[in-house]
Symmetry: C4
Subunit: 208 residues, 4 copies
């Protein structure tokens, strides 16, 4: 499989899934003159939209970082990548449910658990793609420091653990799940995949 | 026609069609506190979502494999490819109908037949693109072993036959259709297009 | 403006607009056991879906053919291209209206006119992009035979005239508009932009 | 981060967001024979569709112009770009609200303010991307005239100021907001980013 088309298809799915999140932001028809109140009351939908958009964005960034280290794709890797995308496309549904029900007693716990399960499945499939690639050196770019990559493994598994911990947390505080997921997205935005190339990265040039 | 833009357009359609599948997963508004039951009762929608996502994913993979063997596209090939895409874009509709009605007596048989017809049409158009390309050698990359490609023909037609057989099967067991389609997708995920190039594939390098 | 990103954005819009057409195919909820009848009664929606998908497909093909002849884009050309895309994105709306109302007396005439107006506007903006490019030689690839391109102008304007003629035709026979539009799409699928390069096209190789 | 995939993801989000705008154009079901009136009465939806499509189009054009000047992306720049995309994807929601309520007293003012706030946030994030890039020379292409770029800063900030001014303007005249936003889009379509390269741009060739 050529890397280019796998990336193009993945980027397309990421972009569409992120854009479809806006459909979770909807306002029921109001009596004339009462729209302002309805727009303000919809704040959980905006919060969930931001959390999910950042989550998809950061997965896309790390997907990108992962694929920069991959030289060749076999069928299994493409299949694992498909499963990852399948879990990501599910996020607009979880997000819509969370945004619509986060203020309904009991249902809020249900949907926050659903959201945390969805995020956990994404993290697990992402880990599967990464682990499969690392354990099949012929798929990787030649100059990769695999030991450094393995040492970074625990640091990245922590995300999966946090998402899994959010499943029971949802039964206590649904809002906390949204906050944790948004915070984790921002954390991973800046906690990049370790620089595991032995050579200076392509694209580096002296400061002007 | 340049191959690049045909692939870009096709990848876009595949990615959007796969992502739109999530719209089939919708829950009717429930009384407060009853969402968990509604989410669990929606399991057929998740099952159909998985079957359709994998189906689109595997068609995309084989589309990709096919286009790697194509060197040049003429208008007829682009037209056949458009018909294939048109059938693929129909799948979110069939999927939504199947997910919504698979537990309704009689309607379940109707929608499972619709789904099988849709899958059959996709398989037939895919076969048409492949057959047209194989019978027009000037469209193919130079180093292709056409005899091997022809010998692989029956093995790939079997998918079309299975989909066609699902149309009457739907009248007996709608669930069986979903299971067969998901199984066929996973089968084709790993039963790749035969390696019909006479030369080592580009991108191969010795294991490190 | 680099041609690559204009093409990527245009391909994205074409792909999404074509895929959104499936949303015009929807069935109202039926009583249990009556879905088959509803699916069969929805045939105008399938017909309109096919006509619109082929229309977008053929515009994409000719857009592609046009951009192969363009070397450089200025702001005006990008703006005209944006207007063209804006008219194309409107097609899912016209299509949905046409599919939903083609059997309602009087409304069928209204929506068929709307559809023909939409198609005419697309044809006019497509012509504007083409005419602007042809009259600004510095935007074109160097080896273009502009005289041949100008001679082909009337042959391509005929599409615009047919679409414009469909606006009053819609008041007589809405179905005829669908048939004419589908036929025109298939005609333009094979009646390609004239080969106006003076040199053999890139990508040509002797038959094997 | 490789520039190519950031551009591909951004182009995907731009294309999908622009295409989803068509969902704001919807007509309530009418009594048979009364569709023409409903289609004509929906004119604010068409006007808002045009204003938003051109706005997204022009942001895409200027995004493109900006990225031509960027050589390398760091995490912060990608994060700022994500925030920009997040604000752009919100526009279909603002647009739908504006189109649906622009003739409802009081609500029209509310939604026009919402629309102006959305446009302001987009402008502010766009400015943030630009300012961050300009103040980090190692991210820029080598031959950039940074002084000229800084001198152009006020001219481009004017858009942000106009959008901010539209927030109170919306309380007086909602229609004026639509007109101003459409006019600003067309203005920015032709008021390009200053030519701040010291060398002739790539892709230039003598007129034929």
């Amino acid at each position: 499989m050529s890397k280019g088309r796998v990336e193009a298809f993945s980027d397309g799915v990421f972009a569409v899934a992120a854009t479809l999140l806006i459909f979770n932001v909807q306002i029921d028809k109001t009596a004339p003159g009462e729209l302002l109140g309805a727009l303000l009351a919809a704040w959980p939908k905006y919060a969930v939209y931001v959390a999910s958009f950042l989550t998809i964005g950061v997965i896309w960034m790390n997907h990108h970082g992962l694929f920069e280290r991959i030289f060749h794709l076999d069928r299994t890797l493409v299949f694992l990548n498909l499963l990852l995308l399948m879990a990501i496309v599910f996020l607009p549904f979880s997000t819509a449910q969370l945004g619509a029900n986060i203020q309904v007693p009991r249902d809020a716990n249900t949907v926050a658990s659903l959201y945390a399960i969805n995020a956990s499945v994404i993290a697990i499939f992402f880990g599967a793609v990464w682990t499969y690639a690392l354990t099949h050196p012929r798929l990787l770019v030649a100059d990769l420091d695999r030991l450094a990559a393995f040492r970074a493994w625990p640091r990245f598994s922590v995300g999966t653990v946090v998402y899994l911990a959010c499943i029971p947390l949802a039964q206590i505080s649904p809002i906390a799940v949204v906050v944790v997921c948004a915070a984790l997205a921002i954390y991973y935005m800046f906690e990049r995949l370790p620089d595991i190339s032995r050579q200076p990265a392509a694209g580096t040039r002296p400061h002007s």
